[in-house]
């Protein structure tokens, strides 16, 4: 039963979007429309948010309709990123729905002439003693919700939950399983034309001259559009647009600019650059003990591609009523801001509508292609233009997760206790998302005749989890440490947010190094971690993963190994421990991942399991196989053959154990497993071979090189 709570500050999303009508509206047809500023990117968020709304309103899940986000109608909740949607939108919706329920109960009490606290709600029907009843739908009146949220109506306690916490089938999956036209790629608008943009032949190149006579003469070509080095074509069909693009490429001459660094020595390159150095955290020991010895190790990760199976796609239409854009962007309001900035339009003349895309794992090409479409739409005479990137565009021109170098040092005293810990990072920034800077974040905006400034990627504030420095502070109770980030601003390849940001490399490094310490001291890696952890929730996931994996029953055999990795995402989110079991043959095969996760209150247990499984499998792919390749001119890993990812037969068994904590705040899980999975695999490889590989990915070549170094 809802009660009246003391006025507390509203959660961020609700504070910024106070009108209750921005979040939900009851419809006379017997359902409630729920609006969220968060978007479905394959993670199942709309299902979890629908569960939360149904729970607080006491309606059935089938009576909730989640509307796709649009700048015209939705609350502005920034980006769908950082595993924050359950915290941001879930918390806001929980309060908004609890308050809406109380408002409607009061209206029902008036109508029925009974006391509000004598009423109960079941499936939207509001009933009191003696058969008096009405419903949300009968009372459906927008005026009732046209008021600001107060946050004073307390949502249900966990014990009263009947929908939240139960596994629910995803609302969006039937469309996808029956092949319905549910993706942005499938959207067809009346009189729609097809556009393509020609990306340069090198990472830095200027279009010097162009012979497009043959392209313009092609039947079905509507326009060739050029502004500086940004060159595109509009055609009546996709096939004509594709063949026109090939001819444009043949008629274009480019001058190459700056060359790229040597892919084989990125760590050296990063460490040689001018950097903005900051101290992320430091802790000085209350009593200093003499250092008996210091261990050091250096770790690296390469640039990683997002590699969505569906390439980025957008539609745009510019006519007298303004600009409309259909996009799978993670931040529709942010995209709108940068579109306005680039095109010289007012925010208010642009409507950005979200349409689902293929899986999104961070800042991919979605915003870039939206600008490409808007750019071409200006030359399309008021009809919509659909632009779909090629596979090569997606793998070579979407932003990359940055290459990183991490150096670690640990001081041990003569009793083998860790008395000092140093962690240094060299990396580009981890976000260049649109909407927040003086210059737009679009690839195409860099290629205009009057180009917008190429801003270097930045890091989100440490208070929000940081970027390169995410998870760089160890979770262990060491008496002293210094964590330093060298933010490299020279950016030969565009970098931005990729799932878990710097946490992937930092956790890989910390947890590998911890194993190196344990090995140097002859300690069990699980016991060594537990000995240095005070947080009981952290200890619990490690203990549970170890028990479930049979850590203590492990029988050592030739070529096989097991390893553990742990982190609490952003040092404030979900706790995740992974035990990996590998076999080292010609290459590393990960056989099994046993994972324990504590994400506080769980809204949809199967959704959590699915996200953790998926995150762990994707991280296995990153860790074993993935690296962006480039020569001194261009990215060369622009097709799947050159950028292999994990296949079905290479996929480990994944066992997920969810530690239920219904009384702890709900936190996201989409990025919790990546770092611990990488570390657990690397530690298992060490257990199998006695060889420590500190450079990702752990390919056969890397392992052979490490063996050669160990022997040499």
């Amino acid at each position: 039963m809802s009660g009246v709570a003391a006025a507390a500050p509203l959660p961020t999303s609700l504070h910024g979007n106070r009108r209750l009508a921005q979040w939900l509206r009851f419809r006379a047809g017997g359902y409630v429309e729920v609006l969220s500023g968060k978007v479905e990117i394959g993670q199942g968020i709309l299902t979890a948010l629908a569960q939360i709304a149904a729970e607080e309103l006491d309606v059935s899940l089938a009576q909730v309709r989640m509307l796709a986000a649009s700048t015209a109608t939705s609350p502005d909740e920034g980006f769908t990123s950082g595993s924050l949607s359950i915290q941001d939108s879930g918390t806001a919706l929980r309060l908004a729905c609890a308050e809406a329920r109380a408002i409607f109960l009061a209206a029902a009490a008036d109508r029925l002439g009974v006391a509000a606290d004598s009423l109960a709600v079941v499936d939207g029907v509001i009933a009191g003693a003696g058969g008096a009843q009405t419903s949300y739908w009968a009372l459906a009146d927008a005026v009732l919700l046209d008021r600001d949220a107060t946050g004073r109506v307390a949502p249900k306690g966990a014990a009263a939950h009947r929908i939240v916490g139960t596994p629910v089938t995803r609302l969006d999956l039937p469309d996808k399983i029956f092949g319905n036209a549910c993706y942005i790629h499938d959207l067809e608008l009346p009189r729609m034309l097809h556009g393509r943009v020609l990306r340069p032949p090198a990472a830095d190149a200027t279009l010097t001259d162009l012979d497009d006579a043959e392209v313009r003469a092609l039947s079905g070509v509507v326009a060739v559009v050029r502004d500086g080095s940004l060159l595109g074509v509009i055609a009546e069909s996709e096939s004509v647009a594709d063949s026109a693009l090939k001819k444009l490429a043949a008629g274009a001459n480019w001058r190459q600019g700056a060359s790229l660094p040597d892919v084989a020595s990125m760590a050296t390159w990063l460490k040689a650059q001018v950097a903005n150095t900051s101290i992320v955290d430091s802790k000085i020991a209350t009593s200093s003990r003499p250092v008996a010895r210091t261990l050091k190790a250096s770790y690296t990760r390469p640039y990683l591609a997002h590699g969505s199976i569906g390439p980025s796609c957008a539609l745009a239409q510019l006519d007298a009523s303004g600009l409309r854009v259909w996009t799978h962007s993670q931040g529709i309001f942010n995209l709108r801001r940068d579109l306005a900035l680039t095109l010289g339009l007012a925010d208010g003349s642009i409507v950005v509508q979200h349409v689902q895309g293929a899986g999104c794992y961070g800042h991919n090409g979605a915003d870039d292609v939206a600008f490409d479409a808007a750019f071409l739409a200006r030359a399309a005479g008021g009809v919509p233009v659909r632009v779909q990137w090629s596979r090569a565009d997606e793998l070579a021109w979407a932003p990359f997760g940055p290459a990183m170098a991490v150096d670690l040092e640990a001081d041990l005293d003569e009793t083998h206790a860790v008395v000092g810990w140093r962690h240094a990072i060299w990396s580009n920034g981890h976000t260049s998302r649109p909407g927040g800077a003086r210059s737009p974040a679009f690839l195409g905006a860099w290629h205009l005749a009057t180009p917008f400034e190429r801003l270097s990627a930045i890091n989100p504030p440490v208070a929000r989890g940081g970027g390169a420095e995410r998870n760089a502070i160890p979770p262990y109770a060491f008496p002293a440490w210094q964590i330093v980030n060298h933010h490299v601003t020279a950016m030969p390849l565009r970098t931005s947010a990729l799932r878990s940001l710097g946490a992937y490399a930092n956790v890989f490094a910390i947890e590998s190094f911890l194993d190196e310490l344990a090995a140097a001291l002859g300690e069990n890696p699980v016991g060594f971690r537990l000995r240095h952890l005070e947080d009981r929730r952290a200890r619990a996931v490690i203990e549970r993963a170890a028990i479930r994996a049979g850590w203590n029953q492990w029988r050592k055999r030739e070529g096989a190994g097991h390893g553990v990795g742990f982190a609490r995402y952003k040092n404030a989110g979900a706790y995740c421990a992974v035990v990996a079991e590998v076999e080292a043959e010609a290459e590393i095969r990960v056989r099994r991942l046993t994972i324990a996760v504590d994400a506080g209150l769980v809204v949809n247990p199967d959704g959590v399991a699915n996200q953790i499984e998926g995150g762990a499998i994707q991280a296995t792919s990153w860790t074993l196989k993935e690296a962006v390749h480039f020569d001194r001119e261009r990215v060369t890993s622009d097709r799947w053959e050159a950028y292999p990812i994990l296949r079905c037969s290479e996929t480990p068994e994944v066992d997920v154990d969810i530690v239920s904590r219904p009384d702890c705040p709900a936190v996201g899980v989409g990025e919790a497993a990546q770092g611990p999975t990488a570390a657990a695999i690397a530690n298992a490889v060490f257990d199998a071979l006695g060889i420590r590989v500190r450079d990702l990915p752990l390919t056969a070549e890397r392992i052979r090189a490490a063996i050669d170094r160990a022997i040499g």
Partner: protein, 160 residues
């Protein structure tokens, strides 16, 4: 490229006969999505490297992005829409829902097609056979294990 002369091609799609006048080199995927409006077959790479656009051609799972129209003349094409509909789902579609065997779902159509081809030639495959049969289909979200479980479940149901 010389201006292609449209030719006439007849083939079956999901049981219905179609006759089209088109350039024979047009990829089947383009014909399915843009001419016939069958959007369930997804574009992924255009180069037969990811499996998102798989369809059955006379029972074989093929990349429709790399299959020219001329190659399917006189043949029978089945797309994901032809496997089953919500009112009469294919055993695989039921199983994919039961196992919640997707995250973004963009690879799902191709996975269903590869799995349907497998079950047609081998109704009770081992897990290893299922994994091998799905190895040409890339999934980026990490749903492979759920997909394998769904295929195993469907094979059990189909022959139960």
């Amino acid at each position: 490229m010389s201006a292609a002369r449209p030719e006439r091609f007849s083939f079956r799609v999901n049981g219905a006969e179609h006759t089209l006048e088109a350039d024979g080199d047009t990829p089947l995927l383009d014909v399915l999505r843009n001419t016939l409006g069958l959007k369930g077959t997804r574009f992924g790479c255009g180069n037969d490297e990811c499996g998102a656009c798989f369809v059955l051609v006379d029972g074989h799972a093929l990349a429709s992005c790399a299959t020219p129209l001329w190659a399917v003349g006189g043949k029978s094409v089945t797309t994901v829409e032809g496997l089953g509909r919500p009112e009469a789902p294919h055993a695989l579609q039921r199983a994919f829902i039961a196992e919640q065997a997707a995250q973004c779902g963009y690879c799902t159509s191709g996975m269903l097609i590869s799995a349907a081809a497998l079950l047609a030639r081998s109704p009770r495959p081992s897990e290893e056979e299922v994994r091998r049969a799905l190895d040409r289909n890339l999934c980026r979200c990490g749903s492979y294990n759920r997909i394998v479980r769904a295929v195993m479940r469907a094979s059990g149901e189909a022959t139960a």
